[in-house]
């Protein structure tokens, strides 16, 4: 009975399949955790990559994110979609990671990063059109994308995160407001401001 009521709550924002998966994870089923990782690992990796960008240890960050998901999944009450809830965890952990990394870099000189391609769980895929199609245009476009990414990642965190949420992940104002815990009016004004800052930094004509 209790399970049926909880599933109903989760159904408001999630599919029946996801609702059941959440419940099983909340009951501590290992197989359900396995399924949850399989279902959301690509999503989590992409969010981390988007928000931390050139980070070399995505594997470690993603692992910590999933461990936090398992730790806190019992607290998920279905007030938002599971994806939004996971997004919130990713953002919080990315913030912690950046803070720790900068604190460590103040204490220690950066170590050369060993090549661990064999152990990596991920691969960065270029989504731009094939250069053979129109080489000159593709090169120009690549440079522009790099300029925009650099501009976005040089923005203050409150603008950077919101722009990625809107432009890359296409979240609605409501979803962004829920994840960041701010009003829709603030979401609108921050997006507008972020876009304007990028337009000023990059030559887009």
């Amino acid at each position: 009975m209790a399970q049926a009521i909880m599933t109903d709550t989760y159904l408001e924002y999630n599919s029946p399949e996801v609702s059941e998966l959440v419940l099983r994870c909340q009951y501590g089923e290992r197989e359900a955790f396995d399924l949850l990782i399989a279902r959301y690992q690509r999503y989590v990796f992409n969010l981390i990559y988007q928000h931390l960008w050139n980070v070399e240890d995505i594997d470690d960050v993603a692992q910590e994110v999933f461990l936090r998901i398992f730790k806190f999944i019992r607290k998920y009450r279905g007030n938002a979609s599971l994806e939004s809830w996971i997004y919130k965890i990713v953002l919080n952990y990315c913030r912690t990671h950046v803070r720790r990394r900068s604190a460590l870099s103040r204490l220690f000189a950066p170590l050369p990063v060993a090549s661990q391609e064999d152990d990596q769980s991920f691969e960065i895929l270029d989504t731009l059109p094939d250069a053979t199609y129109d080489p000159a245009k593709t090169i120009e476009q690549r440079k522009l994308v790099q300029d925009i990414l650099s501009a976005v990642h040089s923005l203050p965190e409150i603008y950077r995160n919101i722009l990625i949420m809107r432009e890359v992940n296409e979240l609605s104002y409501e979803e962004i407001a829920e994840i960041l815990g701010i009003s829709i009016g603030t979401v609108k004004s921050r997006i507008s401001r972020a876009r304007d800052l990028v337009r000023q930094k990059v030559k887009l004509d």
Partner: protein, 255 residues
């Protein structure tokens, strides 16, 4: 037209959140004002390019295995049977080491005395014939000897503890009667005393006994170190390597 309002409309237009009336009005403005249209196009392009940033592909199994392994290691309780066993083994090892260390310490402190002199508790060494006892050939009768011992102790010439050792170990003074006219042989023993005797004393006490025997026998007594296997050691060597206070076995042969 208010610039801030136009910018708000452009953003809502880009996000598909603009109302129908505002949308129509913005489209009219963009058609009339190239600058507004240019701004819209720039923001649209930036959004599209940002949306085309590289994507991450994840190895389907590798990462799952990694996370589940990390999850297992974090969920594992601190006190597992393996850890409890390892802890118990560590404690046993510690106790054995302490005991072994204590034995080594005792041996070091007592030197070779325990091994050589057949001190109390070293039965195994004694059985192997590696130990040395002291043999006192008294050259006198036991009655004379024990009478003299009692007198010397009464006079304070011999250590009282020596008499106590004999009292405790041989009980030879039990039932003895004292005759005041007896002089140095005042004690009359209840039974004839044995001609051979075995007592546990210190080397220092053995030397004192040898002194008594020597006096009674006019120099005919002899104290020597005798191995269980028949070998002999010089008394001087024996006394050098043995602590004067440690216990040894003394055999006394009387006439």
């Amino acid at each position: 037209m208010n610039r801030a309002l136009i910018r708000r409309w452009i953003n809502e237009y880009l996000d598909g959140e603009i109302g129908l009336a505002d949308k129509a009005e913005l489209e009219q403005i963009m058609a009339a004002e190239p600058e507004v249209r240019r701004e819209y196009m720039q923001l649209r392009r930036a959004g599209l390019l940002l949306g085309s940033m590289p994507e991450v592909s994840v190895h389907p199994e590798r990462f799952r295995r990694r996370v589940l392994a990390a999850l297992d290691s974090r969920q594992r309780p601190y006190f597992t049977p393996q850890r409890a066993f390892a802890g118990a083994m560590l404690i046993v090892l510690l106790i054995v080491s302490l005991a072994f260390g204590l034995v080594l310490y005792q041996q070091k402190m007592l030197g070779n005395a325990l091994v050589i002199t057949n001190a109390a508790g070293d039965e195994a060494a004694a059985a192997s014939g590696q130990t040395y006892d002291l043999l006192l050939t008294a050259g006198t009768t036991p009655e004379q000897f024990f009478n003299r011992l009692l007198v010397e102790c009464q006079l304070g010439m011999a250590n009282h503890a020596l008499l106590t050792e004999f009292l405790l170990q041989t009980r030879i003074y039990e039932g003895a009667v004292c005759d005041r006219r007896g002089g140095l042989n005042a004690l009359q023993f209840a039974n004839p005393l044995a001609k051979a005797m075995r007592v546990q004393v210190t080397p220092r006490q053995a030397l004192a006994l040898e002194g008594i025997a020597d006096e009674l026998s006019a120099g005919r007594s002899n104290l020597s170190a005798l191995g269980r296997d028949g070998s002999q050691m010089k008394l001087q060597d024996f006394l050098q390597i043995n602590d004067a206070g440690s216990k040894i076995i003394l055999y006394i042969n009387f006439t």
